[in-house]
Symmetry: D2
Subunit: 332 residues, 4 copies
C-alpha cells in the first residue's frame, strides 16, 4: 500500500456557476468555510488555495488560523488569473498593463505562499490562448507565455512554480495545452524552478495517456504535483476518479508507484450537482481501493506480458485482479 497523502483544490468545496445556471449551483462559500468543509472529508491533509481569497475581507491570518485549526496545510497557492480582468489573457494578454498585473499578482502569490508555507505557486492560465482562427500571432503568444512565467519565477528562486496545462476551456484553445508543449515552453524559460501539475483528467482529455505522460514529466524532473479526476474525454468534466475510465485509473495508480511518487494526490473536481464532501470521499476511497488492487496484482506476470507487448495477457491479468475472478482465456 503506497500510503498516499490526499489533498484537493479548494474550489471543489466552493460555489459552482456556469453559463446557464448563472444564479450558481449553490450559495457562495468563503475560503475559510471551504477549508472547514474540506476538513469534514476526513482524508484531506492539504489544499491548493486560490488567491485572492473568497469572502468579504478574508485575511491571510484568518486562513492560516483556519488551516491550523483543521490540521490542514496549504500545498499550493493558485492566483486568480482567469477572472473578468484577465478574460483576454493573463500572461498573453494583448494589453501590456494586464500582462504586468499578471506578473504582479504572481509575485503576490509567492508572498502568500511563503506566509502559508505552501510548497508551490500554481499557474493555471485558462484565458491564455485564442478562440478563432487567425486571431493571434502564435509566435508572440509563445514569447509572452515563456517570458511572463519566467519573470515571476526569477523573482524567487526559493519558490517552486507549476503550470497546469489543459487543451481548452475557458479559451477554445489554451496555450499550455499538453504535457509535451509545456515541457518545451519550460525549457525555453531557462529557469529550474518551474514544473508541471499533471492533472489526470486534463491529460486524458488532451488525447494523452495519463499513465505515460506522468512518467515522461517525472523523468524530466518536472513533476511538481499530481491532480486526479475523470471525464468523458471530450471535455474537462472533473468527475470522481475512475468513474468513467476505471482501468486507466488503475494504470495511472501503477504509474505513480513506478515513479515512486511521494507527494500528495490532489483532487480536482467540480461536483456541480453532488455533495462535495461525498464526492471527495468517493474519489479517495476509489484511489485506495485501486492501490490495494495493485498490491494483489501479479506484477511479475504483468511485466512479462508487457515485455512481449501482449495486450490480451495484460488485460487478463488486470481484469482478474480488478474483478477478483479467474479468467481462463486458455488458448494462446
Amino acid at each position: 500500500m503506497a500510503n498516499y497523502e490526499f489533498g484537493a483544490g479548494i474550489w471543489m468545496f466552493q460555489q459552482f456557476v456556469d453559463r446557464y445556471a448563472t444564479d450558481a449551483y449553490g450559495p457562495p462559500v468563503s475560503t475559510l468555510e471551504a477549508i472547514e468543509k474540506a476538513a469534514r472529508v476526513g482524508y484531506i491533509k492539504c489544499l491548493d488555495i486560490n488567491y485572492p481569497f473568497a469572502g468579504e475581507g478574508v485575511t491571510v491570518e484568518q486562513v492560516k488560523e483556519t488551516l491550523q485549526k483543521t490540521g490542514i496545510r496549504a500545498q499550493a497557492i493558485t492566483p486568480h488569473i482567469y477572472m473578468r480582468e484577465y478574460q483576454k489573457g493573463s500572461f498573453t494578454n494583448p494589453d501590456p498593463a494586464v500582462r504586468r498585473r499578471t506578473i504582479e499578482l504572481g509575485k503576490t502569490a509567492i508572498d502568500i505562499a511563503h506566509q502559508l508555507d505552501a510548497k508551490y505557486v500554481k499557474f493555471w492560465p485558462g484565458q491564455d490562448g485564442f478562440d478563432y482562427p487567425f486571431q493571434v500571432d502564435y509566435a508572440k503568444l509563445w514569447d509572452y507565455s515563456v517570458s511572463g512565467v519566467r519573470e515571476v519565477a526569477q523573482t524567487d528562486s526559493t519558490m517552486q512554480f507549476a503550470i497546469e496545462y489543459k487543451e481548452k476551456e475557458p479559451r477554445n484553445r489554451m496555450f499550455f495545452s499538453s504535457a509535451a508543449r509545456t515541457l518545451l515552453a519550460i525549457e525555453d524559460m531557462g529557469v529550474n524552478n518551474v514544473g508541471i501539475v499533471l492533472d489526470s483528467g486534463h491529460s486524458s482529455f488532451a488525447k494523452e495517456t495519463p499513465a505515460e505522460v506522468v512518467q515522461l514529466v517525472a523523468r524530466r524532473g518536472k513533476l511538481v504535483s499530481v491532480e486526479v479526476n475523470d471525464n468523458w474525454r471530450e471535455w474537462d468534466d472533473d468527475m470522481t476518479f475512475g468513474s468513467v475510465h476505471l482501468t486507466e485509473a488503475l494504470e495511472f495508480m501503477q504509474a505513480l508507484r513506478k515513479i515512486n511518487w511521494q507527494g500528495p494526490i490532489l483532487l480536482d473536481q467540480f461536483p456541480f450537482r453532488e455533495d462535495s464532501i461525498k464526492a471527495a470521499q468517493l474519489s479517495i476511497e476509489t484511489i485506495k481501493a485501486l492501490d490495494g488492487i495493485l498490491d494483489r496484482m501479479d506484477l511479475a506476470a504483468l511485466e512479462a506480458a508487457q515485455d512481449r507487448q501482449d495486450a490480451l495477457e495484460a488485460q487478463k491479468i488486470v481484469l482478474q485482479t480488478l474483478l477478483g475472478v479467474k479468467l481462463l482465456a486458455h488458448q494462446d
Copy 2:
C-alpha cells in the same frame, strides 16, 4: 438572394459568466437593455427572449414597449428551466415538485408568448440528462421527457413549441441530444404542436451534418426554427457563423434554400470576449455573403456532380465560386 429576416437569442446581448470568470465577462444587462442593444445591430428583426426577464422588476408591459420602440418583435419565449432550481433536471428532475414547476413555468411561458405575440415557446432542457454512468434509469428519463413536454403542449393547441437539442452542457449527457432522437421523442408525445429548433452548431457538434439534418427535420414537418453559429466540433463554442467551417456554412445556406425556408435565421452566439453587436453583424453579413455566393454558383453543374456523387467536381465548383477563382483540375 433569399432575403432572410434575421433575429437572435437575446442572451447574446446580455451578461456572460462561466465557471472560471465567476465575476462574469461584463456587467449585468437587463432584458430591456438587451433589446436595445440588439436594435443597434441594425439587422435584427426578432428575438428569442428568456423568461423570467433579466433585471429588477422588469414587466411584460415594459418588454412590449421596448420591442415596439425598437421595431423588434418577439419570435420565441424560452423559459429558464436550467437555473439553480433546475440543476438536477427540469422535465426529468427526480423530484416530482420540480417537474411540476417546470410544467407550470412552461404554461407561464405560453402566456407570455401570447402577450408578446411570439411564434413559439422554446424548451432548452440543458439540465435534463445525466453526468455519470449508472446514474439514471434511462427509460424513466424518456418517459419524463416525453410526458412533460406533452403536458405543456396539450394545454394550448394554438401555441407552437420547439425543442432545442444538444449533445451535452451543462449536463455531461443531455437527454435531447440529436435531431433523430428528438424526432422519435416527439412522435411518442403524440401531439402535433411540438417541433425542433435546428441549431447548426449543436448539429455539427453532435456529429450530424447540419445541411442534411435540417432537411430531414423539415421533411417530417417539424422544423420550427433555425439558429446558427459555429464551433470547433467538440463543444458548443457559439462562435460567429462560418468562422471555422466556411464550406459547410455555405452548404447549410443551400439546404435552407432547398427547403425553401421562409422563417427568420436566428443567431445563437456567446461572444464572451467580443463585442456582441459586431459579432452579430459579422455573422449576418457572412450569411448574406454566402447566400450571394449561392446566386453565382453553377447549381446545375453542382447537381450533376452530386448525381454522380462526384466529390472532387462538387468541391471544384464550390471552391471556384467561394474563392472567385478558376480551378482547372482538368484531368478526370
Copy 3:
C-alpha cells in the same frame, strides 16, 4: 446468471488487412477454416457469416457440413456490400446498376440464410454515405437507402433483416450512423421485418450511451441482434469487451437484463495483432464475469439511487461490487 449464448462475426477469425499493412496481418482464412477456428474458442455457438464465402469455390453445402461438424449454427448472413464493386455505395450507389446488384445480392443472401437456417440477413452498408461536404444530395441518399432495404425486405416476409449502423468507416460519414436515425429510416420503409443490430462499440463511438440505446431500440421492437466490443470512442477499434470502458460494459450487461435479452451475444472484434481465439475467450469470460457481478450487486439500492438520480451513490454501489471492496463515502 443470465446464461447467454455466445456467437461472433466470422470475420474475427479471418484475415485482417488495412491501408498500411497491405500485405495483411496474417494469411488468408477460408470460411470453412474460420468456422473451425471459431469452434476452438469453446464458447461460440453461432456465427454471423459473410457471403460470398471466403476461399476458392467454397459451397453452401461445405459450410453447412462444417457447421454441423463443429456444432455451430449460422445466426446471420451478411452479404459483402462493401467490397471494391460497392466502393461508391451499395444501396445508395449513384449507378442504378450497382444499386440493382446490391438488391440482387441481398436476395441471394436471403436464399443462403434459408439454406443455412440463419435467423436474419444483416446489412452493413459501410460504403453508403459520403466523404466530402457538398458531395451528395442528402434527400436522395435517404430515398435510396430506404427504398433499397425495403425492396429486399419485401421479397421475403418470412425473413428477418437487420441494419448495423456506424458513424463512419470506411466512408467518412455513413448514412446509417446512429440508432435513432436508423429507427426513423426503418419507419419510412413501412415494413415490419427490418430491425437493428446494436453494436455496443458503434454505439459508444457514435456518442450514444449503449445501455440507453439498446433499451430504446428494444422498446420499439426493433432489436434483432446484439454485438459487443470496445473502443477508445473516436474510432471503431473493435477491441475486447470492457477493455477501455469497464463500468459502461457492466451497465450494458444490466441493460440486457432489463430488456430480458434472450438472443445470443455476438462478438464483433478485429484482433489485428492478437490471437483471435484468445481475444474471443477474453471477451466472453469478461461478459460472464460482469454478469456474475450483477448477481452480487444490490439492485434495490441501485434502483433507489437512480430514482434520486444520485450519481455518487450509484457509483459507490457499482464500484463496491465491481472491485469487491467496501467504500465508506459516509457523508451525504
Copy 4:
C-alpha cells in the same frame, strides 16, 4: 505569390485497400507506373517514394530512369516499416530481431536515398505504439523509439532524417503522436540530422493548430518537410487540402510564408474513391488560390488586429479577402 514547388507521397497514385474493401479500391500500381501517373498531374516535381518498391522486381535503376524520363525527382525515401512483418512495431517491436531489421531497413533506405539523390529518409512508425491499456511499459517504448531512430541517424551524418507523427492508425495510439512529443524525443536522440515532417492533417487531427505548430517546429530548426491534406478532425481522412477547413488552410499557407518556407509542399492524400490525378490537381490549385488570396489580403490590418487579439476584426479581414466581398460589421 510564393511560387512553391509541389510534390506528393507516391502512395496517392497507387492501390488503396482497407479492412472492408479487402479486394482493394483499384488494381495494383507499381512504383514505376505511379511515377508516370504523378507526372500526369502536371504540377508534381518531386515524390516521397516508399521502399521496397511496388511491383515485381522493380530496381533502383528503373526508378531512376522513370524519374528522369518524367522530370520528377525523389524528395524522400520512406521505408515500409508498417507492413505485416512490423505489425507489432518497428523501432519499438518487442522482438529485438524485428527492431534490428527495422534499423537495417533504415540503413538500406539511406542507401536508396543516396542513389536517387533524395533529400531525406522519412520514418513513419505507424505500428509503434499500443492498442490496449496496460499493454506496454511506456518508458521502454520511449527508449526503443529514441535509440532506434538515433542508431539509424548516426550511421550517416550526411543524410537528413524526418519523423512523421500521427496520433493513431494503424495503432490505436501511436508513439510519435504530436509535434511537441516528437521534438522532445528528438532532443533525447542527441543527433542533429533528425527532424520532423509536418503533415497539416495529422496536426489538426492531433488537436494541434497546424499554423501554430509548423512555426514552432521551424523555430526549433526541425522542420524538414511539409505535407498537406484535410480531414474531419477525428481521423486521418487524407482529403484534398482545404476541403473541410478552408479558413485554417489559408492560415496554414500564411504560416508557411511567415517561416519563409522554401521547400516543396507535398500532398499526402488517399483518394480511395476518387481519381488520384484530379485529387492532386484540386489540392494544388487550391493551394495556389489560397496563396493568391494572401497576396490580396491587408496583412498590415490583420497584424494590427492580431496585436489586439481581435478575433472579429481578424475574421472580417480574412472573410473579406477570401470571399471577395465587403463586410461592414461597422460597430465596435
